[in-house]
């Protein structure tokens, strides 16, 4: 029996639930120092003086770092990481000092005592599509064309018998993993060790080595466990540099730095709000002739990040005339970054609600409308899809959800005081293998050790990578030891872009093959072989994506407008599923986060101050258990020999793609209210209630 496909329990599960798993901040070290950042209280300005004396005399304060006393970094190319280098303040909440003390309480108290004098400059923190300074970035994350233009969109729209032209908005979101961004750091014998909560120990090492001008081999990053990241730990943020700075200022003493929840709202990335001007043209049968999407979003003046929001609109449905654009407003705000399915997540909101609006306009079932617009090849590249089973996902989802009996009329079902409706949306996420991940297989004392510097951010890498290795070596999975989360193991790429299992798994399979080729089935103790992933040549010939269909039931209280979602059901086509237990967890987690985006999440940036004012988990609402009822994730038995040697596609992100649109479409079906800006809340549906 092969291990792949078995619902094995997490190898690290018992450690985590018993508290035995050590996270970055808990790393047992001797006599650590603790750090607390001092943050700017203006959104733009220049420091004229920093008064540290009161903090410095506090019993237990060891040091206060400011731009005057902090070391000069070797590289300040990444402005987000160039902390404490000059007097400039680029956003409210930016770090302007760091108090280092014997306890975390003293450090926090010391930070309160540091006073910063500054000249405040007029700041600008308000996103609008009407700004006259919107600009076209050179590319969008990570390296896609900013704009695309195929055919003649305007002419096609003008000629289209049916048009949908609407503007949709997604809110600003913060990743908010349960474990804050945290580091234990030690500078000893001219080497830096970072026990850091990160989605990639090797990428983190490379960045930190550059920032401090160290050879990479003198930086070690260790991260066995992560309490969630959702992209916000995919790239090192300022907190890691600060921890390393503090350690280097106090050689031989370990230092600890954990951001507070409030600090995470300005220092750990976020998803930009998006404004999506969507235009669809179709014939009377619902066949799309034109797809236009113009996106306006924000970036930080300090450092550009351009969310690739229009990407899915480029490839999702067939239409001969298509144009997409991205325009940015550079604001005096914290730096946006990756958040679960950057691009696809917000980018499947506007288009998938617009499809629902088109279906309503035409009187065509929204499932059927999507099926009618299924492209034969990737509209973007012209290449065939390596596999595309969206239609099957839609049909299987409709069957499981009970979509057939649906009355399309909005606002006509009242049950026990609740208006009831259902909605659907499609999901998509690219399938990629990152080049440059190396796995090593070694035979030790009768067992197989697999080493790869991967990171498990809660997804299940500790469990699924041995399954892949066991099958590749043709040995029981229990004979395989996996070693990850440390730069002492071979270089691996980031746990991001849903590439982890596919990439690291490919490296492991190839290393196992190399091992068997070299040593056969009767290796000796110490025999080892390794392999490194390369660019998948098939990616030039095929378009590679996972697809899915999500169905939602919404209930809106007819008196109060309270919105509840008793059912969410997703069907996904994501290649071969390595471990159904951890995979289901990933998909359910994504869908739940999508529900949270639909109904609750909303970072309220007060433009007068320039910071997010609801910056804690009491005020920034994420869906709680009582909001999450019957959520089901199913998948098709999909084979794809092109994506990688495993035939598996990434599943970490597709679950959040399309969910919010499905919920919004269900709310429309329930109430007749078409909400085009997220989240959908009581106040927005109230005017439509009886």
């Amino acid at each position: 029996m092969t291990a792949i496909g078995q619902p094995l329990v997490r190898r690290d599960g018992a450690h985590k639930v018993t508290g035995a798993a050590t996270y970055a901040f808990e790393t047992p070290v001797s006599a650590p120092l603790f750090c607390h950042p001092v943050q700017s209280t203006v959104a733009r300005g220049r420091i004229t003086a920093i008064h540290t004396a009161e903090a410095e005399v506090l019993d237990g304060v060891v040091d206060v770092l400011t731009y005057r006393t902090a070391e000069r970094l070797a590289s300040t190319d990444d402005a987000e990481l160039a902390v404490l280098q000059d007097r400039d303040i680029a956003f409210r909440g930016q770090v302007v000092g760091l108090v280092i003390a014997e306890t975390s309480e003293i450090a926090r108290h010391g930070a309160e005592l540091v006073l910063v004098d500054h000249v405040e400059h007029e700041h600008d923190a308000e996103l609008s599509e009407h700004r006259d300074d919107l600009y076209k970035p050179a590319k969008v994350n990570p390296s896609f064309p900013t704009d695309t233009d195929v055919g003649d969109l305007d002419a096609a729209l003008a000629a289209a018998p049916v048009r949908i032209e609407q503007t949709y908005r997604t809110a600003m979101y913060h990743n908010n993993p349960l474990e804050p961004h945290a580091t234990t750091a030690l500078w000893d014998h001219d080497s830096l060790t970072l026990w850091d909560s990160t989605q990639g120990v090797h990428p983190s090492r490379a960045t930190l080595a550059t920032v401090f001008g160290l050879p990479p081999e003198r930086v070690r990053v260790v991260c066995p466990f992560v309490g969630g990241g959702f992209g916000s730990k995919g790239l090192p943020h300022a907190n890691v540099v600060l921890a390393a700075m503090a350690a280097r200022a106090h050689p031989g003493r370990p230092v600890k730095l954990a951001l507070t929840r409030q600090q995470m709202f300005s220092l750990a990335g976020y998803r930009t709000p998006t404004i999506q001007r969507m235009r669809l043209g179709a014939d009377r049968d619902g066949r799309l002739t034109a797809i236009g999407l113009d996106v306006v979003e924000q970036t930080a003046r300090l450092k550009e990040f351009a969310e690739q929001t229009a990407l899915p609109a480029r490839m999702m449905y067939a239409a001969p005339h298509r144009r997409t654009t991205h325009r940015l407003a550079a604001l005096d705000v914290p730096v946006p970054s990756w958040m679960r399915a950057p691009g696809e997540c917000p980018g499947m909101f506007g288009p998938e609600v617009a499809m629902d609006e088109l279906a309503g306009e035409l009187g065509v079932d929204p499932v059927e409308l999507r099926i009618r617009n299924e492209p034969a090849v990737d509209p973007e590249s012209g290449n065939p899809f390596s596999s595309r089973h969206l239609v099957e996902c839609l049909r299987e989802g409709a069957r499981r959800f009970g979509w057939e009996a649906r009355d399309p009329r909005p606002g006509v079902r009242l049950e026990d005081g609740w208006l009831v409706g259902t909605g659907v949306a499609a999901s998509v996420y690219p399938s990629r293998v990152n080049p440059g991940s190396t796995a090593l297989v070694r035979f030790e004392h009768g067992r197989y050790a697999v080493e790869i510097g991967a990171a498990d951010l809660g997804t299940g890498a500790w469990t699924v990578l041995p399954q892949i290795a066991g099958d590749a070596l043709d040995v029981p999975v229990d004979d395989v030891d996996i070693r990850i989360g440390d730069t002492r193991y071979p270089k691996a790429t980031v746990a991001g872009g849903s590439t982890g299992t596919a990439t690291w798994g490919t490296a492991i399979v190839e290393a196992a093959r190399a091992f068997r080729d070299k040593f056969g089935r009767t290796p000796s103790h110490g025999d080892e072989a390794e392999a490194t992933t390369e660019k998948n040549p098939e990616a030039q010939r095929y378009a590679m994506y996972a697809f899915g269909a999500q169905f939602a039931e919404a209930r809106v209280h007819a008196d109060t407008g309270e919105i509840r979602v008793p059912r969410l059901l997703g069907v996904f086509a994501a290649g071969r599923i390595v471990n159904p237990r951890t995979a289901r967890s990933q998909l359910l987690g994504g869908m739940t986060m999508g529900l949270s985006m639909a109904l609750h999440e909303d970072s309220v940036l007060d433009p007068r101050f320039g910071h997010v004012v609801n910056h804690d988990l009491a005020e920034y609402h994420v869906s709680v258990n009582a909001d999450v009822a019957d959520v089901q994730a199913h998948w098709l038995d999909e084979r794809d020999e092109h994506v990688n040697v495993l035939g598996s596609k990434g599943i970490g992100e597709i679950g959040i793609v399309g969910t919010a649109a499905a919920v919004v479409n269900a709310v429309h079906h329930a109430t007749g209210a078409r909400i085009r800006d997220l989240p959908v809340t009581v106040d927005k549906v109230l005017p439509a209630l009886p």
């Binding site: 005081g417 609801n614 009581v682």
Partner: protein
């Protein structure tokens, strides 16, 4: 967090004397709000006086009603069979608030004294008249979703966050207070203040006053309901809430006690709605008229206009439910 002296006195009288003698001293009970404020710098006491165990943790029969010891945890109060059967509006309000863990810690005396969750009050980097008198109100012109539509002032538009307090206001509870000059009682509806020009003062309590018990009179009506409206199904403060206690005979409202939550600086006793209801025939028109009578004085802020119709709808729906009517 500023260091402070921690006192754990032997009895309530000592605790009161200790706090009264030190302007920088505060009482600590369950700590569910104060500990947050210590970390955030919103509260910077020099002395923290722990009153755990110094007030009663018992619920006792008294004059046809109940006396609730200030030390009774919110979860115990919500679970008490006498409270559940005779004061369901109170049990419902308690269970609508916070989370199980917080209710285990929060106390009867402490819950009404929790402070507003106005995001600007809780952020020491923004002006706030309640936290720092004279600095200005950041909520006006800012994020107002959880802010007042009744009884606010140009100095403060914050709301009181407690659910329990809304039910207590409707039930005509009485607060027993031990102060430096001895014991006294305060009608619950008069415990909290409107902001006026002194929003730093949430209540009429003086420094050193300790709530020792809250007394409930005999239930003023047998039809009781607490209805809380929020975007999230749990663990969220009210956008609006309604505590309603009704007596009906032959389809006519004999008596009505109504209080609103989430809409004012204090639990808002809806006197005008009550007056409008008394003697009226129970039905949609009377309920709507009651809502209109109370909300004529409502003044919404940009960003929370929806709370006026939402509160009206919630009141009408709650009264309808209490009188056996169907939902919309």
């Amino acid at each position: 967090m500023k260091p402070f002296t921690y006192d754990s006195p032997a009895d309530a009288a000592t605790a009161v004397r200790t706090v009264a003698a030190d302007p920088s001293a505060v009482f600590l009970a369950g700590g569910t709000n104060l500990v947050d404020h210590l970390k955030l710098g919103v509260a910077r006491p020099g002395r923290v006086v722990d009153v755990t165990g110094l007030t009663s943790t018992e619920i006792t029969e008294q004059d046809g009603g109940l006396s609730l010891g200030a030390g009774v945890p919110n979860s115990d109060l919500a679970a008490d069979p006498r409270v559940r059967s005779r004061y369901p509006v109170l049990a419902q309000a308690l269970l609508a608030g916070a989370s199980g863990q917080l209710r285990n810690m929060a106390t009867t005396g402490g819950n009404p004294l929790q402070r507003t969750r106005c995001v600007y009050f809780q952020d020491v980097t923004t002006p706030c008249n309640k936290r720092s008198p004279g600095s200005g109100c950041s909520a006006i012109g800012g994020y107002t979703r959880y802010h007042a539509i009744l009884g606010a002032s140009e100095h403060c538009v914050a709301t009181h966050p407690s659910d329990m307090a809304v039910a207590l206001a409707a039930l005509d509870a009485t607060v027993r207070v031990l102060g430096p000059d001895g014991e006294r009682t305060i009608p619950f509806a008069e415990l909290h203040r409107l902001p006026g020009d002194a929003p730093e003062r949430d209540t009429v309590l003086r420094h050193g006053d300790l709530i020792t018990a809250i007394d409930l009179p005999a239930p003023p009506g047998d039809r009781q309901r607490y209805r809380k409206v929020r975007d999230r199904a749990s663990y969220a403060f009210a956008l609006v809430s309604v505590a309603a206690v009704l007596s009906i005979a032959d389809g006519v409202v004999q008596d009505a006690r109504i209080a609103f939550g989430g809409v004012a600086h204090k639990p808002w006793r809806a006197w005008q709605a009550e007056d409008s209801l008394r003697g009226a025939r129970a039905g949609h028109e009377a309920f709507r008229a009651a809502a209109d009578a109370e909300l004529a004085q409502a003044e919404a802020l940009p960003g929370n206009e929806f709370k006026v119709p939402l509160l009206a709808r919630t009141l009408v729906a709650t009264l309808r439910e209490l009188t056996g009517g169907q939902s919309a």
